[in-house]
Symmetry: C2
Subunit: 268 residues, 2 copies
């Protein structure tokens, strides 16, 4: 996102989260290491740097938030409001946070709005395309994601031969893929390598300014280790990090990475 | 189930599955170690032993079935039919298997029909009851299970403070609980010990003669290691193995084990 913004002539200031952000990835930009809950500090620095638009990148593992936050004064003042938002799932919490930023004069934008070139387009990203069987798995995966949408949980499932093998919740996509790799290795899942699809889609009604499904090199590696045929995301509704590297890894591992239409979703 | 049947004066013959059944648990009964796919062998022995009623105990991890089966002749003859049933999820497969057994003159019964005393009743099994907060988690868990029901996947979820932390699919309940324990240990989930509920419920429309949700000593240990407050199942729709031991472990670990009504389910 930062690269894409700079290409378009915008100045970027990063507030990487300590313990979450990749130090190497942020060092090329003006950056201020931050903790969750330092809203007061953010306000001061962002105003001094002349920031106007705020873009959230990456997803927060929500159950951890309450514990990781070391609150500064400004945040504590807002806390009753944040706490109220906190109960009931990601979407409520994020909507509340968005309003707080806007109250302080920032414009909250989605990565997809400021850097549309990082969105996955319809079709194959690399050299391989899904096969008919894969499309059937993708359709089922999209339906499963739609079903769990109201529960404000994960955005990813693994489907193979029409069977839902894994549903993501608090563990995140990488760990879900590792689980499939384990189940395959231990013989609990005995499907030929190159069977099954990781399907990612945003929750229906989710605020796209937060937590748009994203894939990157690690996702491809995880899917390859899980023995999958490929990865499918909703075209225009997912971000790909380091696309050249993603394509190289996927092509070498024999995986497809595809943007599909949501209408593909199978009705159950 | 076998104990309960013998108490009621019925003779029990076990066909434990090699690699799945517990050798110590079966040795007190007449038993014939079996592999999946030896339907011909089962037919011969079951007829010789004068068996009439067949009861399936435990769940088959379905994605593994195709690979684990070493087919005998009788089974191969039936295979096109089994294969047809196999595609599309547990329920289809199990329904097909049930009809095959019935075609050969056996009566397929559910554990809950022959051994109703092993069903979980409404209320607390041990000394502890769910608190108001737990009931809210249980209601949300039941709703999540209802939502994923059509996908023929797991029968269990973990919910804490109204957040769905894990949804069971191919990995099974024990591994799902181990995942929660890991997420807690690594700090990805930071909730006080004694928060969250494991909720198990049969899929809607599921043939209760197969795979009624069951809990046993290992489930309680897993839930305790995952730092949960307790376990909830649908009263009359779940089996408890070794109830005395289950109660002892749960009471000692400070966990509730409760049978609840399905109507508790929260609408989303």
């Amino acid at each position: 996102v930062a690269e894409s913004l700079e290409r378009n002539g915008r100045r970027v200031v990063l507030f990487p989260l300590r313990g979450w952000a990749d130090a190497k990835a942020v060092e090329r930009y003006t950056h201020y290491w931050s903790n969750l809950g330092q809203f007061g500090r953010f306000l001061r620095i962002a105003r001094k740097e002349g920031c106007r638009d705020v873009i959230f990148i990456g997803s927060l593992v929500r159950p951890a938030i309450t514990q990781l936050i070391t609150f500064d004064w400004e945040t504590l003042r807002l806390l009753p409001r944040v706490a109220r938002q906190f109960y009931g799932g990601d979407d409520h919490l994020l909507g509340g946070i968005a309003r707080i930023f806007e109250d302080y004069g920032f414009r909250l934008l989605g990565a997809h709005e400021v850097a549309p070139d990082i969105l996955v387009k319809e079709g194959a990203l690399g050299g391989l395309w899904p096969k008919a069987r894969d499309y059937s798995d993708i359709a089922r995966g999209l339906a499963a994601l739609r079903a769990i949408g109201p529960f404000d949980v994960g955005q990813a499932v693994v489907v193979a031969n029409n069977n839902v093998l894994a549903l993501e919740a608090a563990e995140g996509t990488d760990q879900m893929l590792a689980r499939i790799a384990d189940l395959r290795q231990s013989g609990r899942i005995r499907l030929p390598t190159g069977t099954g699809v990781l399907v990612k889609a945003p929750k229906s009604g989710q605020d796209r300014r937060f937590d748009l499904p994203s894939i990157g090199p690690r996702t491809i590696e995880g899917a390859a280790e899980a023995g999958l045929a490929g990865i499918a995301v909703i075209a225009g509704d997912a971000i790909v990090a380091e696309p050249e590297l993603v394509i190289r890894i996927a092509d070498r591992a024999g995986l497809f990475v595809a943007g599909v239409r949501e209408e593909l979703r199978a009705e159950t």
